[in-house]
Symmetry: C2
Subunit: 217 residues, 2 copies
DNA sequence: GTCTATAGGTTGATAGAC
DNA sequence: GTCTATCAACCTATAGAC
């Protein structure tokens, strides 16, 4: 035991994290949070000013360490990482090694297509996206940049879906899938996504360029 | 032009579909909807009783035709469809052939891990999930059922992410990816997911069973 | 079927005592 | 830093005239 007493600010962050995951960012009221955290309503405004800035703080405190670990894992894979190593470096720091209480909340955030949340992620993800983009580029040099970017989006989607729906995966599959075995899920996801990245892209000429499209009709 | 006049009920459904996509189900108020639809507030309660049942109606009117088309495409692929044909039969009816205004809203619904939405999808998806599960089973007989189900979830996640984030894909990729070319996106997604499904699963013995895990330490 | 009016409750945020 | 009290705005849902 390191500390059993937690200060008000942290209690608010913890409670908000839990409730945001359960009910969503907008559906959770400040009163829900203060009740869960057992603090006064005004404390939220004192520590975080507005609800939006509380949301930013809840996401921000978790995303930074994850991204740091991502870059560490990518660097540890050496100058010529395999596709599997790149995918694992992106996925495992959150899915396998991320602390449990943040996972459903991160899933919610990744899966909510709100501009406000998008800005938060964009701010924190800039360095990571750059490094991983380059890594994929050297590992799969034959891939067009459009195809590479689409596949990054597909990867993010699979990961987000696992995070956000894992609480019903058990019921959904009648116990066949166990989302609590995080190493297992991570291994399966890495296998799937890496294979997707390795898929051969049809030659450019097979897909009609603008000229062809305009020339027709 | 077939009909320029639309009845109140449809106007409410159309407006709700648009606003649910933009702001989310909970963040959209009935007043937002009646303002957008240019109808009276009480009309919503007259036609749909409650907000929850309106959400159900908005999703329900779109999901049925999509699922019908999915089963048609799967049947049209014959008794021994390829993995690509199965994936395309699941993905294309929504992503490529679904009518445009429903796409962002469907993305939002698929990506919101709320039990209420899950129940709606479960109700409508039962027959489809069964057929597609069987199709994958015969196309990829060596896959364990757990791995097959996880991959179905990964597939759904990639598709949902494309639907829900396509409005920022342009900005995100600085114009390299064009989400408005729906045939192109669909082809890329089918390629990616099919390759993921074809990935070889490591033999059961390579992954420690419970006995091994318990036996250790 | 469509309207006005309103009930009854919740929300985010703040002012000001301690 | 933490509290009580409160504001103004907003919400869903309904009752009842037309």
């Amino acid at each position: 035991m390191t500390e059993t007493v937690v200060d008000t600010k942290t209690r608010i962050l913890d409670a908000a994290e839990k409730l945001f995951a359960d009910k969503g960012f907008y559906a959770t009221s400040l009163r829900d949070i203060t009740a869960e955290a057992d603090v006064n309503l005004a404390a939220v405004n004192y520590h975080f000013q507005t609800k939006d800035s509380l949301i930013d703080a809840v996401i921000g405190r978790r995303i930074a360490p994850v991204n740091r670990l991502r870059l560490e894992m990518l660097a540890a894979a050496g100058p010529h990482p395999s596709v599997e190593q790149i995918v694992a470096a992106f996925v495992a720091p959150l899915l396998e090694r991320g602390i449990s209480p943040m996972l459903p909340m991160m899933g919610r955030a990744l899966a909510s297509p709100d501009l406000f949340l998008f800005r938060i992620f964009k701010k924190h993800l800039a360095a990571v996206a750059d490094q991983f983009g380059k890594a994929f580029e050297t590992a799969l040099p034959s891939l067009s940049s459009a195809e590479r970017m689409w596949r990054l989006l597909f990867m993010a989607g699979s990961m987000a879906h696992v995070l956000s729906w894992s609480h019903v995966v058990g019921e959904m599959t009648e116990g066949v899938c166990d989302p609590t075995d995080r190493e297992d899920v991570t291994a399966r996801l890495v296998r799937f996504v890496a294979a997707g990245f390795r898929a051969t892209e049809p030659p450019r000429s097979a897909q009609p360029a603008d000229a062809v499209r305009l020339g027709a009709a």
